[in-house]
């Protein structure tokens, strides 16, 4: 029973919503346009840094959010500019390299004054303005089996806000994917040259998709940071790979694929970990080995998914870039 509640708690946690957001962004890139963005964690990290550093400078919260989103938009322009004209795997290599560069810059001692180097920025340094907006009481609130703080850190307030943003962004994806604009993007995914021959500026459409997806990724980063802390190493390459796994799990190019994928991914990760710690004796699988063990399963899941069911749970095989 405890395990079930743990799983449910993970399913509604703000971090799950944050990953759903970042995956919606990735869905704009990969699902809709067929762009291989392997650096979504870099967009998230830029959003986090932009937000947290602006708050530390004493700017109001809406300016901070805009700074975070603008950082991601500029990053998208810089990345897309040279690579969107090249073959798809070049974008993959450049985005992964650029995301690593952002992380290395964030870790670097030379910027410690702004980013706090490898130890990052503590949550208490930037969470206050958001928590002050909370209409929830400043105490632990129990709703059914769930017990969370009303306003602090991973709170009911943050849960409400993040899931509301997830719904908004999913709605935005649905609206845009079914607009003439979205149909052009799908056309690019299917056959770039055909769309080009119809007189559309493919480069510009790809760029727009890259920017929108990146900005939503940054939003995911900001909401993630509000529940945790800004830590460059938590947004490394594995994070991007998890995002890909959960997007493909839920179903790329669908409205609710990323949301379902995120919920399924994190719940099953919790389920596997709690089952393993409950049933496998600790001399066979020590508690410290649980994390790598479950991540091995994530990797294997990704491999099997891509080969045997690339459309995931909700997707349609015809709607895939590969």
């Amino acid at each position: 029973m405890d395990i079930l509640f743990d799983v449910l708690r993970t399913a509604i946690a703000p971090s799950t919503a944050a990953f759903a957001l970042a995956a919606i962004g990735l869905n704009f890139h990969f699902g809709l346009t067929g762009l291989l963005n392997m650096g979504q964690a870099g967009f998230m990290l830029l959003g986090m840094y932009g937000f947290a550093i602006s708050i530390q400078q004493g700017w109001p919260i809406w300016v901070a959010i805009l700074v975070g989103l603008a950082a991601a938009a500029i990053f998208a322009v810089l990345l897309g500019w040279p690579t969107l004209k090249l073959r798809g795997d070049y974008l993959a290599i450049v985005t992964i390299a650029a995301a690593e560069m952002v992380r290395f810059l964030g870790r670097s001692q030379s910027l410690a004054g702004l980013t706090g180097a490898s130890s990052g920025i503590r949550g208490s340094d930037y969470k206050a303005p958001f928590e002050e907006l909370s209409p929830f009481p400043d105490a632990i609130v129990n709703i059914g089996p769930f017990s969370m703080h009303g306003s602090r850190s991973s709170s009911w307030w943050l849960t409400t806000v993040t899931w509301a943003i997830v719904l908004l962004c999913a709605g935005l994806f649905w609206r845009l994917a079914n607009s003439p604009w979205g149909r052009v993007l799908k056309g690019i995914r299917e056959d770039e040259d055909a769309v080009r021959s119809l007189g559309k500026n493919v480069y510009s459409y790809k760029m727009q998709a890259l920017i929108i997806g990146g900005v939503i990724g940054a939003l995911g980063g900001i909401t993630w940071a509000l529940g945790n802390s800004v830590q460059p190493d938590s947004m490394g390459r594995p994070t991007t790979f998890w995002l890909w796994t959960l997007l493909l799990l839920g179903g790329a190019a669908t409205v609710f694929g990323p949301v379902l994928g995120s919920i399924l991914f994190w719940s099953s990760l919790t389920l596997v970990k709690s089952l393993a710690s409950a049933f496998i004796p600790s001399d066979v699988l020590a508690p410290t080995e649980l994390e790598p063990f479950s991540l091995v399963l994530v990797g294997v899941t990704l491999m099997l998914l891509v080969v045997f069911r690339p459309q995931g749970v909700l997707g349609n095989k015809k709607e895939l870039a590969f």
């Binding site: 070049y90 030379s110 790598p292 091995v296 994530v298 294997v300 990704l302 080969v307």
Partner: protein, 347 residues
């Protein structure tokens, strides 16, 4: 070209601006570095870094030659290649360490404790066998099913995630040392270097020459280059493309393992994610040299190694990987086919 130059300038200005915001301490060390660079001590520092860069570049080349050959013959950007580097070093540690070792999920422990000269070749042999197994059970199946290249790339990402965490699960999170003795550094003119590093360099050069000989002078090597050039045509002229690719996978895994072992000796220890970290450098090197070009990986690796190490004369050392990745992005802007690659339409 103009676009590329503009991006380069913007990036340079941006990085400089960010770094100067980083604090006065940084500025102070930077001016200090500049002033010392003018004196003879600075030249020594430069030569030493240049030398370190060549060593690192040679080790990087060992790892990335395989990556480039795989890309050349199959078109796959293999994201799991970094784990092959770690695996080679780790299996050597597994065989050589006097401490008790065990397999994951098996509750018993035992010691192997082979001498290093035996453990290292055995490690390379096991890694080569793993390359064979990998191609047999994963990649040849995917090729047979005609799985799209992008899907295969994501499969390799999944494999990388699984392997790196498996290695962490198996060997633990802390770096391990292959040999316990400390290699004393000796002074040769302006360069200080240990004997083990010198021997590593010789081994790396011999291995790279052997690869070059294989590709240039043997029948199998010529077949490999033919497949790399045009698989369909090679197949039509009677070359068994699938067995060539199998050999390439074995060679790539073996060379990566050798690179991993030498790297572990060079940096005195190897962690479970060192190969994963190295992967971006390998991609940078391979792209810089020319994706799929057999000698491109060597040229690219040496440049990346030297740039990464020499940049530490002016830039903070924790940014050396970021610098090398920056080079990769600039190269893609100016010359996407790399230094040795032929110009072709890539998008």
């Amino acid at each position: 070209m103009l676009r590329a130059a503009l991006v380069f300038v913007v990036a340079a200005v941006g990085i400089t601006a960010i770094l100067s915001m980083g604090g006065t301490a940084q500025a102070a060390t930077e001016t200090e570095a500049v002033t010392t660079a003018a004196t003879s001590g600075g030249t020594n520092l430069l030569i030493q870094n240049l030398f370190n860069g060549i060593v690192f570049g040679l080790l990087l080349a060992l790892a990335s030659v395989g990556l480039s050959l795989i890309y050349g013959t199959t078109g796959l950007s293999n994201f799991a290649h970094g784990e092959m580097v770690t695996f080679g070093a780790m299996i050597t540690y597994f065989l050589a360490t006097p401490q008790a070792v065990s397999f994951p999920l098996l509750p018993f422990e035992f010691t192997v404790n082979w001498p290093f000269w035996l453990a290292a070749p055995a490690g390379i042999a096991i890694a080569t066998a793993l390359g064979w197994v990998q191609d047999k059970i994963i990649w040849s199946q995917l090729r047979r099913r005609r799985v799209a290249m992008i899907q295969q790339m994501i499969v390799s990402i999944g494999l990388s995630l699984a392997l790196v965490n498996f290695i962490q699960w198996w060997m633990g999170g802390r770096p391990v040392r292959l040999v316990t003795s400390i290699d004393p550094r000796k002074q040769y003119g302006p360069i200080s270097v240990g004997n083990v590093t010198l021997i590593s360099m010789v081994i790396a050069i011999v291995a790279l020459l052997a690869v070059a000989f294989f590709l240039q002078r043997t029948r199998l090597g010529r077949a490999t280059r033919a497949v790399s050039d045009n698989p369909a045509l090679a197949s039509a002229s009677g070359i068994k493309v699938d067995s060539i690719i199998r050999i390439v996978w074995m060679m790539a895994a073996g060379l990566a393992a050798l690179g991993g072992i030498l790297l572990a000796l060079y940096q005195q220890g190897i962690g479970f994610d060192d190969g994963t970290k190295l992967l971006m450098m390998m991609f940078a090197a391979v792209t810089l040299g020319g994706l799929g070009h057999p000698y491109g990986a060597l040229v690219g690796s040496l440049i990346i190694g030297v740039v990464a190490e020499v940049s530490t004369v002016w830039l903070p050392p924790d940014l050396k990987f970021a610098t090398a990745l920056g080079i990769l992005i600039i190269v893609l802007l100016v010359r996407p086919q790399g230094i040795l690659g032929k110009a072709e339409r890539v998008g």
